[in-house]
Amino acid sequence: MLTDAWLVVPLFNEGPVVGDVIRDALGTFPKIVCVDDGSSDDSANIARKAGAVVVSHPINLGQGAALQTGLSYALQDRAANYFVTFDSDGQHQVSDAAAMVERLRAEPDVDIILGSRFLDDEVEAGALKRLVLKTAVRFERFSTKLDVTDTHNGLRALNRHAASTIHIHQNRMAHGSEFLREIATHKLSYREHPVHVVYTDYSRAKGQSLWNSVNILFDLMFG
């Protein structure tokens, strides 16, 4: 049981899966905050019944905003030292998240651990998706000078210093890149950790379309 860690879960219309995701994670992470980003389904109630604390945005603001709200909320807990961002659709493994927290504990000089799909071979993504992700990685490596292999992975573990230093302004989908920029700007020390992402039929159906890459690029340049 990781009582000094918070799982921060942005939540938007994930009713069919979020209950199982929370119940599955509670065994390891007793402190889970779901930030309901104005879901139109029953996600918030399902998450609350499953045992998570639910913080509700009065209006839909976007996943990046939900992450920042969750981090701000969890930071209020004086007993919390570690903060893990975790997706609500079940694509992340609780064991990966726990391993990342333990690694932060073992290496106190590291501020943030980024999950990476490309450090091992367990990638279940289509060829086109891989190409887009790899291109995004190249772009981020160039613009932030960070040595990372996966830039758009929602699984990250932060220590208190990183969580209180990083501030996400990109409300919509560009927050993945913004995390990296914040790391570069504030010179936080980071490591990557191999994680296994499960693309279920559910997550594939909801997955980001490639059009979103265009939106992300524009948000970063003009936002």
Binding site: K31, V53, V54, I59, L61, T69, D77, A80, F222
Partner: protein, 124 residues
Amino acid sequence: MASQIVIKIILLLAFGLLAVLLLVPRPNTRGRAVRRIMLVLLLLAAVVFVIMPQWLTSIAHLVGIGRGTDLVLYALAVLVVGNMVAARRTAISQNRDITQLARTLAITQAPDPNELFDPGPSES
């Protein structure tokens, strides 16, 4: 037509300036003052050209355009784009404010995490 090179340069410079405005940080007090002065000058120019349309044509000839009407059209194009840029900037800054407001509201309404887990889990 080589005679239109002047207006082409002016228009390209204007659009370039707008592109720069789109990328640089938000305007400060001086930027706001400059915008207001420009607006007043624009209104004055509009009044002058309504009364003296032949002046407009003379200016158009100066920059290599045949008709004053065309000059107005070009100026309109620059203004429309400039307005889009300004509107976008306003929207971005308003979005940030709304986000902050909504976040504060959401966190205030949620249970205090320090009380949730301390003396054994208590359901809210």
